[in-house]
Symmetry: C2
Subunit: 206 residues, 2 copies
């Protein structure tokens, strides 16, 4: 059975929602950053990166949210979570998720994780000051150029949707003005009404 | 016909090599950061992110290196560039490429692109000072936990190989001691001997 290692209020929520969307048979293991579970030897044996999420399968471990999401979509094809038979459309899904992973999430991470990229406390504060601008720039691109209706890819719900929804949980904390992004906020509201999303969040907060 | 927009000495080389590996019928368009081609309206119409690479296909544009590489692998299945029929193995390929995109490339980018994440010149210098340590940490993980023999995924060459090769072009400039990573350096040498790699590099430098 699939087992998802996660920390509450992290990007792991995207994979958790996708498992619900896929009606997968899975269990979860909650870790805590507060006690540094992610750096303990037993977890590093699962994911040497010391990050979440990690998806443990019968064949081994999958890490990295874009990889996990595509894995779920391919492993549960009946759920229709990605255009698996169309390389171009699949590439659009992957490009969106890659942008969230490598640009939006990275911009966001400069608010809480600046020590990854500098040691000087004043530099870390300078990074924090730029987060509202850099994250806003990402949402401008998403709102104007990338976001379909009613779902990210248009008429069909895909693995892009739980990932965007997860990122938008941090939008206000990152200093982004939600009134500037009505499409993104509407997507967040629409997602929050889905039973699969409610269930994943309830499980993470229980 | 496929058209690759690239800038020399960027991550676009990975896609260029993969097109050669796939024996694809393609053409290239070279842009220059020096004259800010990537911010000109004609390029922003192709890729609103203002980044390279962008792959223009008959059906539209694909961006983001992990998405482009998987697209090439799926579009030219006879080239055998990814385990397309095995979701778990495909996820391993994707996880590796996602790590290069969102962790290694991001760590590297703090040397030349610090202004993405801070405005203060002293903060940008502080970021540059940490690049040798943060990039070295990535290569430690790659060397010890992620790298197969003779190729990234083991016996079979995949789209992970041109991507890692491309990243390793910057290893010394990033202040990483190559003698600490014999496996990575051996992979780079092995890649540099491939005719497809030589051809892609020659085309980019011509």
């Amino acid at each position: 059975m699939i087992k998802l290692y996660y920390v509450t209020d992290t990007c792991a929520l995207a994979s958790h929602i996708a498992l619900e969307d896929a009606a997968a048979d899975y269990s979860t293991v909650r870790l805590s950053f507060a006690v540094e579970d992610q750096r303990k030897p037993e977890y590093l044996a699962i994911n040497p990166k010391g990050r979440v999420p990690a998806l443990v399968t019968d064949r081994g471990v999958v890490t990295e949210t874009p990889a996990i999401l595509a894995y779920i979509a391919q492993s549960f094809p009946k759920a229709g979570l990605a255009p698996l038979d169309d390389p171009f459309q699949f590439a659009q899904v992957q490009a969106f998720n890659s942008y969230l992973c490598a640009t939006l999430h990275v911009a966001h991470s400069h608010r809480m994780r600046g020590n990854r990229w500098a040691d000087d406390p004043s530099a870390i504060e300078a990074m924090q000051r730029k987060v509202p601008a850099s994250v806003t720039a990402c949402y401008e691109l998403i709102e104007q150029k990338m976001l379909g209706q009613p779902w990210v890819m248009g008429e069909t719900y895909t693995i892009c949707d739980p990932y965007l929804f997860t990122m938008t949980q941090w939008l206000e904390q990152d200093g982004v003005d939600p009134s500037r992004f009505p499409g993104v906020i509407d997507h967040r509201r629409r997602m929050s009404e889905r039973s699969q999303v409610r269930k994943a969040i309830a499980l993470e907060l229980a």
